[in-house]
Symmetry: C2
Subunit: 408 residues, 2 copies
């Protein structure tokens, strides 16, 4: 008999009818012989309703009180789901984050989980009880209610799975798995049966927003098998796990992209030690996150320096950079906020040469000019003009045969 | 500087605007130099909204889960009220029942408070913080969330006042105090400045539903000065306290009445030891509460036995009594469910003769026939035909000059 942690998000428990459907799914898993811990979010709309009430009182409510308020959303769901299970003759007990001692730091509205006391859940499971836990919340060492930030229910589920050494942590959501790329861009994008944590992190951080990044990191760190499935359809979903030597791995798992990029270039900077810090220091101080960084050294003792930022930070970054340019005596500052990033992701890349050249060739054939290139162990990213996003992604999806199940 | 516990019910915190008004009232008390603990109920309508969701899942939801669900109502209010105080520059911290260790027994939906750990509230108060506590809820020894039953917020307030040895516990409600009788029956009924716990218990149990009886009992037991005031108007309200020797007490404090009475009589029962038990035992076993009991012994070795029950139990009680009559060989069973009870209440009665005769004379003068009489230390109750309720109450209100401030 295996121990499974399941997590259902807000849309999966968005009405009494849907809560009853979740109860049926849990009972099916119970009947299949599994021990079940289930983590639920607030019913969809509920958190917004609570936040709206707070916003009528204050633009900046005290974070401690904000957490007391919004944590009621999940508490309602755990009670209703337990009632639905009890009505069907299945023992179930609900717990708030505090009650199962999900200990967090005191960073209200974005707390991090420090520890979980799983003994109470373990006792319930041994009695055949379904344990129903409120996602997204915990308590700090002083007993104050904390929340993990929006989407934190994924993290709760993974943390419980780690604490209980569960066989699998199943995240039920409104998509049926992780795809080779966004099906809205490539209609024949394919659901992956399996993906590694590293690949998932690259995919997630690049805009495939299926799972909270922190949950994936947590799962990787604590060796929790994570599966993404649909709440509304049957299917195996996608298993996110460690790389298995015996696994026949495709070279490329998927193509991620990010529409929210902007690039800035400072030209003709004197090429001297510390220049990168002098350029990026003020950007960091302005709380702007930098993504890709490229530096080219010219012949004349000067250098050109290019980096990308989130598009919403473009104006601010430009103004900071123009000041820096004056200080450094740079020749010129240029920028472009109509660019996007496309990334090939795959752990197989490590052992396969020629990925980059296949990529560049495919893009060149379609006349897509590459503006920047950046590579890592399991990823190659290119920056191209915004207008080439869809064409670029489709071209690469075809070039690497990602619609076929076992691209070796 | 005195320590005051204030309690605001659901209608007093029924909207964001009203919560902001409560914040203003608390700040006024704070500015007057008081330390403040405030207990709040769920926003009016909220508890019903939650119960309605539960009822869509189950007719008889598990009491443990019911408590998890409905306790969120107060949690929302404490957060919003704390935000409103914080916004105005006043330090405030919210606490659920669990967080301030309101320890109860495990009788879900009707738990009783066993203990309170006031240390955390005390520490906040010493820092000038307004402490905002969720009413109506606590936790049992296993950490399960419990509720005290509807109206339990009054009890929470009194229990906190007792634990903190507060100078006064102020219950804000939609009436401005305790009246000599129901102003809907006697328009010139007068608000009492002061009433004793004993009188208040008699008034409350007889239908003047201003305060929860348990809260009054609790206040009496732990010597908490209790004051009933209006949330919506200024005024001193009514202080419920111990009898003070120096106080000039009116003979009669008020007139209570109960429209929900029914009486049953068993006639010609053999007068032998144990007959009262033989008659009332089966009634108690049927979970019917008996109020007044009268027994008359006749000359022929038989006795007539009359008692009153809540009108909703009349049919059930009649059927039980008819069975008993057969067993005991009684002559006849009669009943009347169109009766009411009117009671004079006042601690001054103890030391003043002639109250009963004044009462009976006043009623006789209006042609009101008395069907039953029952007396206690501080109360005289009469049962009369339903149609005489208003006339009876008005007659007695005038006969004892209750509209005048200091009826000695």
């Amino acid at each position: 008999m295996s121990l499974i942690v399941q997590k259902y998000g807000g849309t999966s428990v968005g009405s009494i009818e849907k809560i009853e459907q979740v109860a049926e799914k849990l009972i099916a898993a119970r009947k299949a012989g599994h021990s079940i811990v289930v983590v639920v979010s607030a019913m969809s709309g509920e958190t917004n309703r609570l936040i709206e009430m707070a916003s009528r009182i204050s633009d900046r409510p005290e974070p401690r009180e904000y957490d007391v308020l919004v944590s009621t959303g999940e508490q309602v769901t755990i009670a209703l789901l337990s009632m639905a299970l009890n009505k069907r003759g299945y023992a179930a007990r609900s717990y708030t984050g505090s009650q199962v001692h999900i200990l967090t730091d005191s960073a209200h509205t974005k707390a991090r989980i420090l520890d979980i006391d799983e003994s109470r859940m373990r006792a319930d499971l041994e009695q055949g009880c379904i344990v129903v836990v409120a996602g997204f919340q915990g308590r700090d060492e002083h007993g104050n209610i904390t929340t993990l930030g929006r989407g934190g229910s994924d993290t709760t589920a993974v943390a419980l799975a780690a604490a209980l050494k569960a066989d699998e942590c199943q995240i039920y959501t409104d998509v049926d798995g992780v795809y080779t790329t966004d099906p809205r861009v490539v209609p024949h994008a394919r659901r992956l049966d399996c993906i590694t944590f590293e690949e998932m992190l690259e995919m997630a951080s690049l805009g495939s927003k299926v799972l909270q990044i922190r949950a994936v990191e947590f799962a990787g760190k604590y060796n929790v098998n994570l599966r993404v499935l649909s709440s509304f359809e049957e299917g195996p979903g996608t298993l996110i796990t460690f790389e298995d030597e015996s696994m026949e791995r495709p070279v490329i798992s998927g193509i991620a992209f990010n529409r929210d990029e902007a690039k800035l270039t400072i030209l003709g900077v004197p090429d001297q030690p510390g220049v990168a810090y002098q350029i990026l220091g003020p950007i960091g101080e302005a709380n702007i996150e930098v993504d890709m960084i490229i530096q080219n050294v010219g012949d004349d003792g000067t250098t050109d320096f290019t980096f990308t930022v989130n598009r919403s930070d473009y104006e601010k970054a430009m103004s900071v950079l123009q000041n820096t340019a004056k200080t450094l005596g740079a020749r010129e500052v240029t920028g472009d906020n109509a660019i996007v990033k496309i990334s090939l992701v795959g752990v197989g890349m490590r052992s396969h040469a020629g990925i980059a050249s296949t990529m560049f060739k495919a893009l060149a054939k379609e006349g897509i000019n590459i503006r920047m290139i950046s590579t890592s162990e399991i990823k190659i990213s290119v920056v191209v003009d915004e207008k080439y996003l869809e064409l670029g992604v489709r071209t690469l999806h075809d070039a690497f045969n990602l619609d076929q199940a076992s691209a070796a």
